[in-house]
């Protein structure tokens, strides 16, 4: 019996101890009419050899592509050490560290993570993770509303990742919180102050500020943060953690810095793997810490004064405060944070900077090359980080299909999210791309556009 260690003798002895005659008898409190015991859609079991073969076949079928897709999930080199350590049984198969003395490994690592993440974001504190970037943004919105007290409205630029906006809506709607969208400037691809100023007279709990935004474009974060603070709204940053190595951190935006910074942690050593598991990070100012959802680890001492770590501020959490908790979150994305912490330790500040800078430089080079092709131009005239929007003169979906047939994933079709942006591609070239890759893309696109 796979994974069941009992021998027949064991079962006999155990039933005798219980005083039952069969395992079935142990289910005797379940009303007979509720018993089912039929599974018609579950195939019979496979040996590990059989399932391995099946999974290898499926993996082979999916294959490998040269990908220029970003849009919220980024291909970065992941040091081999990251997952070899992360999948060690002691990290992989332990539970949430409720028993601190038996979980110092996880707890210390999370404390180190909090330190790194808070510093990366330029904030005072960080939690130990949320589900993903999108849900972290929703939690930040709820947090802002709790903190602000008077307004239940959140201002969200359309330059924020469209799916993030959709997730925020799904989650905050239940609490009758209104999401108000701010259009972007079609020339720059940024939230313009002009657009924002139409809302100058209204009250909002928070303004969400993406950096870089969904188009890869850099927003004027100082101006936006100050705009929010000027009207007593909170400023919520939604940022790319790799970019933070190069870009001014949210804690330094404008006169007083953003209040909350959230984002998708995936770029920090987490494989793309069809969308998850990733992790959401959240850092904030000290004054907001008690509003922050999720696990938080604190450094303390043991009976004898030795340094140790424990879950802390649990009074915010559902298992203590139940209906009065700051959030319902319980299980988070611990293992992903383990990987991210090891990743950040291996890279260090200069390593992460170079990853960011090389990604930036590669995308600059790609855009420059592609722009030389007739029928291709940049959609926006603003600085960007490691993604950019290209306007094609021909149907972009067909171009993507032709590239795909040659093993290249050429980017994301923006009109799926922005119906106005017809025939535009969002392209991304991280540090994993080399000159030959950029040339290959350029050459293929040249041929396709010629045909």
């Amino acid at each position: 019996m796979p994974f069941i260690p009992h021998t027949e003798e064991d079962v006999t002895e155990m039933l005798a101890s219980i005083g039952a005659t069969s395992i079935d008898e142990l289910f005797d409190e379940i009303p007979a009419e509720l018993k089912n015991g039929k599974l018609t859609q579950v195939p019979t079991g496979m040996s590990e050899m059989e399932i391995s073969r099946l999974m290898y076949e499926r993996a082979q079928k999916d294959g490998f592509y040269l990908s220029f897709i970003g849009a919220g999930a980024y291909e970065h080199h992941i040091p081999a050490a990251v997952w070899q350590i992360t999948t060690r049984g002691e990290f992989y198969s332990s539970y949430t560290p409720y028993q601190a003395e038996a979980s110092q490994g996880t707890l210390q690592l999370l404390y180190e993570y909090q330190t790194m993440m808070a510093s990366l974001a330029g904030m005072d504190v960080s939690n130990a993770s949320l589900y993903d970037g999108a849900s972290a943004l929703a939690e930040a919105a709820l947090m802002a509303v709790r903190q602000h007290k008077s307004s239940r409205r959140i201002l969200v630029p359309q330059t924020v990742h469209p799916i993030y906006r959709s997730v925020v809506r799904t989650i905050v709607r239940n609490q009758a919180i209104e999401v108000v969208e701010v259009p972007y400037d079609p020339a720059t691809g940024q939230v313009s102050i002009d657009q924002l100023d139409q809302f100058a007279q209204e009250e909002f709990a928070a303004l969400i500020i993406p950096q870089p935004n969904f188009f890869g474009v850099l927003e004027q974060v100082d101006t936006l943060a100050d705009w929010a603070h000027d009207k007593q709204s909170l400023a919520i940053a939604v940022v790319n953690p790799t970019a933070l190595a190069m870009l001014k951190p949210p804690g330094e935006w404008g006169r007083q810095g953003a209040d909350i910074a959230v984002g998708e942690g995936q770029p920090l050593g987490i494989p793309l793997s069809s969308g998850g598991p990733y992790f959401g990070f959240m850092a904030c100012k000290q004054e907001l810490v008690r509003q922050m959802p999720g696990r938080i680890i604190g450094r303390t001492t043991d009976l004898e004064g030795k340094e140790g770590f424990a879950l802390t501020l649990q009074a915010r959490e559902q298992h203590i405060r139940r209906s009065k908790a700051t959030s319902n979150i319980c299980t988070n994305q611990g293992l992903m944070v383990t990987a991210a912490t090891i990743y950040m330790s291996l890279l260090g500040p200069e390593g992460l900077y170079r990853v960011a800078a090389q990604s930036h430089a590669n995308t600059l080079a790609l855009v420059e090359q592609l722009e030389t092709l007739p029928g291709v131009k940049k959609a926006f005239h603003s600085p960007f980080f490691h993604e950019a929007v290209l306007q094609l003169s021909v149907p972009a979906d067909e171009v993507l299909n032709k590239l795909k047939a040659q093993g290249v994933l050429g980017g994301v079709l923006l009109e799926n999210y922005y119906p106005d942006l017809k025939n535009t591609l969002l392209v991304c070239a991280t540090e994993t791309k080399i000159a030959e890759d950029l040339d290959k893309y350029t050459e293929m696109l040249r041929q396709i556009l010629k045909a």
Binding site: I30, Q104, G105, G275
Partner: protein, 483 residues
């Protein structure tokens, strides 16, 4: 020692990053970062060494028996990890076209079908990333259902007092008022209280069955009737599905929506706190509201259903489709076990729990619901022992660590004083359970003969008891180089 304390200014670890800073940089000056973040500057070897050594400071299923009630700490087959981490699966971008992911999508589709069968529900969405998010989805759907019917006066969710904290927290997060109902002395929901609680304001009832008290809620059919008659819907917290897998299906019990914790019943690893995955299943009445994406199989091709296919969907809960890698692990796990394995899980989890209950009862431990069968878990209360000796459930828990066992869940559910919620899970052998019983016996003896030993535990761990009061009072959440 913290990783930061191994750090030395300007130490570089070039193998993991481009050899130089690139020449091109178009970031405007006013948007540039001015000072480097506090990331450690440590050699690759010292990083490996630091985190390898840290890992050794954890208890885990791979190293210790871990009878943490409500958490279903069972063996996480290593094959699930290895196969879910095949390079093609890892490197696939979530927005890559569907035809470049038919292998992956086939797994997701089949998992949906399997979960439908296992739970007896009409449809399943895989998007939820943990139990609490599953609850959020479920309650959001209940709200959508009532709203679609114009039934806007339903503002209350009924929840038994034994429920996990996520239930009331979720209800409130979804804008509902929580009506808590008590448990009777046998561990069942107080039916009279339930009847009294339902009203035209009732949006739904959240129920865990088997409950967090470790017993099967026998009157579930009647509860279902009561709630449905009042116009409410029934939510099933499937965290305890392990106890009845394949044997009883939530759909047959009358539930309209459920979540199941794959990181419990389907053996995906807990990872020191996550990630999980908690697919949500619905009866027909809620089908239109199910969150997207969902995998469809049409003319031999797998594709994601989107807002266009499901205009009434409550929408999305994650940027992509949830914790895909966790779902893959669960898929591999079910395929390894097969239908026959599903039944066995329930049977042997139940056998192990009842055996441990019987043995501990023989030692003299007080069982919270002595007249009941254990499902996959059961509760010991230390109330009497504490009153007599001052030794608490927490003391005993810490002393168990000394003896090489992870502690059971303590002080949950809240309604049983000084409780230990013990869940052995089906993958533990009789010998391990017997060794645990011996350890419990030793502690019982120690409580008699040297209670201080127990009260001041742990003694054999790398640290003595951690001061968590200090942790909360003197908040130290990030390391500061200044010290």
């Amino acid at each position: 020692m913290l990783i930061f304390e191994h750090s030395r200014k300007n130490r570089l670890n070039y193998s993991q990053a481009p050899a130089t800073r690139p020449a091109k940089n178009n970031i405007p000056d006013n948007l540039k970062r001015k000072s480097a973040p506090l990331l450690p500057e440590v050699s690759e070897m010292d990083t490996v060494r630091h985190y390898t050594r840290l890992s050794q400071k954890n208890f885990s299923i791979d190293t210790e028996f871990y009878p943490l009630g409500s958490c279903t700490m069972k063996y996480n087959p290593r094959a699930c990890n290895a196969l879910a981490m095949l390079p093609q699966f890892l490197s696939r971008h979530p927005l890559a076209p569907e035809d470049t992911g038919q292998g992956f999508l086939a797994c997701m589709y089949e998992l949906q079908e399997i979960l439908k069968d296992v739970t007896g529900m009409s449809a399943v969405s895989l998007t939820s990333m943990a139990g609490a998010q599953g609850e959020l989805i479920g309650i959001t759907m209940i709200r959508a259902y009532h709203e679609a019917r114009g039934d806007t006066e339903r503002t209350e969710i009924i929840i038994p007092d034994a429920a996990h904290g996520t239930n009331p927290a979720t209800a409130v997060m979804c804008g509902y008022k929580v009506i808590e109902i008590p448990t009777d002395r046998d561990g069942d929901v107080d039916m009279e209280a339930l009847k009294a609680a339902v009203s035209p304001r009732t949006a739904g009832l959240m129920l865990t069955n088997p409950s967090t008290l470790g017993v099967f809620e026998k009157k579930v059919a009647e509860m279902s009737r009561v709630v449905h008659e009042a116009g409410g819907l029934l939510y099933y917290d499937g965290a305890n599905l392990n106890a009845v897998l394949g044997k009883v299906k939530p759909g047959d019990m009358g539930f309209d929506v459920i979540h199941m914790n794959l990181h419990k019943t389907f053996s995906t690893p807990h990872g020191g706190g996550g990630p999980g995955a908690a697919p949500v299943g619905v009866a027909d009445c809620l089908l239109p509201y199910l969150p997207i994406p969902i995998v469809a199989h049409e003319q031999g091709v797998y594709r994601w259903l989107t807002e266009k296919d499901r205009p009434q969907s409550i929408g999305r809960l994650s940027a992509h489709m949830g914790n895909a890698g966790v779902l893959l692990r669960a898929y591999i796990y079910v395929r390894l076990l097969g239908a026959e394995g599903m039944f066995r899980i329930a049977e042997y989890a139940t056998l192990n729990a009842n055996y441990l209950l019987a043995e501990l009862r023989k030692l003299g431990f007080e069982i919270a619901y002595p007249s009941r069968r254990a499902s996959h878990e059961f509760i010991v209360t230390m109330k009497e022992i504490k009153d007599k000796t001052g030794v608490t459930a927490m003391h005993l828990a810490k002393r168990l660590l000394d003896k090489g066992f992870h502690a059971p869940t303590v002080y949950f559910p809240l309604l049983v004083p000084e409780c230990l919620l013990i869940e052995p899970a089906e993958t533990e052998s009789k010998e391990t359970l017997d060794r645990f019983v011996v350890a419990m016996k030793e502690i019982l003896d120690e409580i008699d003969t040297q209670p201080e030993m127990v009260k001041t535990a742990p003694h054999n761990m790398p640290l003595r008891k951690i001061d968590d009061v200090k942790a909360a009072r003197e908040l130290d959440l990030v390391w500061n180089p200044a010290g």
